[in-house]
Amino acid sequence: MDPSALLAVGQTALELGLICSLTVLALFLSYSMLNVCDLSTDGCFTLGAAVGAMVAAAGHPLLSVPAAMLAGVCSGFVTAVLQTKLGIDSLLAGIIVNTGLYSVNIAVMSGSSLVNLNKKDTVFTMAKDLLAGTPLEGQYTAVVAALAVVLTVAFLTLFLNTRLGLAIRATGNNPDMVRSSSINPVFTTVVGLCVANAFTGLSGCLMAQSQKSAEINIGSGMVTIALASLLIGTTLLGRGSILVRAVGMVLGAFIFRMVYAVALRLDMPAFMLKLVSSVIVALAISVPYLKQQWPTIRRRLFYKKAAAVRGGN
């Protein structure tokens, strides 16, 4: 692979990695902190893309960002209420919302499964105009995405160290202790999921605008891809302060995209992305478990062998 091709690969990986890292940061809050595996992520990502694209297509590219985030908050709120107030298992709550969002998303895109943003103003075209003539001229996608990531990381670092943030972290860690600190774990779960899904929505919004179209399947498999990135990030920078761990999430998203981009260059067909992310998630979660089980497994294997020897005599 020649250097210029590698640079192009790195460029794409950087842009996609930054945009997707917003979803990874959302899961960092819901999955790592709140201990809830939010399976509505796919639908929420698409919702952000759809809302963002519609608002941008209507001529308000700047407004599209808060609109997409607000849509994410609403989706997160529904997921949270289903699991805290209506007795629905948290995984099932996510699946239910995800399914429902499919219809909602098509309705948002006025009955179509695709919104085209060609020749429309987006936050990226605005940045392109703004950066014209500066050294960052060709990097407008990365600049916008990086700005969003930096703001999100800064927000999370501040937020997770406030009293509310501590309470959210404790909810995922030991809900009994949250109750005994006279804080309602229902409240912390609702707030946590709302904030997390705001970032998922933002991620979808930026993704759609960067590729100049939103389509109904833009978010499919996103939760697995983001989890894969999250687990890579946790392996690299899983300990330390919230800031370090959040940076690890961004790094994880970038590395995941980089590996994937290189694999594409090595003639891996594009449709393999989701299988690769599934395998990464399955391995990342099962390997530590198997490592822990290994002494028992080994003992049983040897035990059987020894028994065979004994029995043979």
Partner: protein, 261 residues
């Protein structure tokens, strides 16, 4: 301080597993009372604590804490005035968070968006130093790294950070080794005395039951069968206590973990 009138609690009512855990129990505690509670297995000691703390609502009766009716108040609201320690030292703190983060959450000062400041850290440092366990120099370490005894001491500190109106201790030293248990008990005594906290403590150590506090309750079959305080309690020995229990409950004290000495 605490007024419990005619509360009852039945688990799985109407099924073969029906269990009348508390039957028509009434209890009045004066401010500053330190009550020790002993009883057989399944006597309803923990159920009583759960009912007072609000882990579940009672089937009948009322619970009034310091003039406020808390009968239907959810657990997390009652926690403002009730501190509680369990036998399991892991239950009271979040292992994935640092010592100072746990304390900050328990201290609960400031609004939702307040950050821990140097002043808070200094306060936590001072309180931790009182434990004499070296925890004050490990404030940035996750609680998961602490031993059971250290965690229980920390939980005690968290529960009394803002002195509660009522402190519930459910065999909180039972899972600790004797040395650590002694230490945690000493801290308990000091904290309770310092703030004159009304306290209820379940124990299976008969000596402890007579030695600590100013009043001893014995429970059996979901009710209080013996309530001793004052002069009568001062002169009581463990042997007397067992005999009294037998006389009142109509059977010998049957607790598989009871410590007589």
């Amino acid at each position: 301080m605490l007024n419990i009138t005619h509360i009852s609690k039945t688990f799985n009512p109407g099924t073969v597993n029906e269990k009348k855990a508390i039957t028509d129990l009434s209890l009045h505690l004066a401010p500053g009372d330190f009550v020790t509670i002993i009883g057989s297995n399944g006597a309803g000691k923990s159920t009583l604590f759960n009912a007072v703390a609000g882990s579940f609502l009672t089937d009948s009766g009322s619970i009034v804490l310091d003039g406020q009716d808390v009968t239907f108040m959810p657990e997390f609201r009652r926690a403002k005035s009730i501190g509680r320690l369990f036998q399991d030292p892991m239950r009271g703190s979040a292992p994935g968070m640092t010592i100072e983060e746990n304390l900050a959450l328990a201290a609960g000062s400031g609004g939702w968006f307040s950050h821990m400041g140097q002043k808070d850290r200094k306060r936590f440092w001072d309180r931790l130093a009182l434990l004499d366990m070296g925890l004050e120099d490990r404030m940035k370490q996750p609680v998961g790294l602490l031993s059971g005894g250290q965690r229980q001491a920390l939980t005690l500190l968290m529960a009394t950070m803002n002195p509660p109106k009522l402190l519930l201790l459910d065999e909180h030293t039972a899972a600790l080794d004797p040395g650590t248990a002694e230490k945690v008990l000493k801290i308990t005594r000091e904290v309770v005395a310092e703030h004159r906290i009304t306290t209820m403590m379940v124990t299976h150590n008969m000596n402890q039951a007579l030695e600590l506090g100013n009043r001893t309750l014995m429970m059996d079959g979901g009710n209080i069968v013996l309530d001793i305080s004052g002069k009568e309690r001062e002169d009581l020995t463990v042997r007397d206590l067992l005999e009294k229990f037998k006389a009142n409950a109509g059977k010998a004290l049957d607790n598989d973990r009871i410590l007589l000495s």
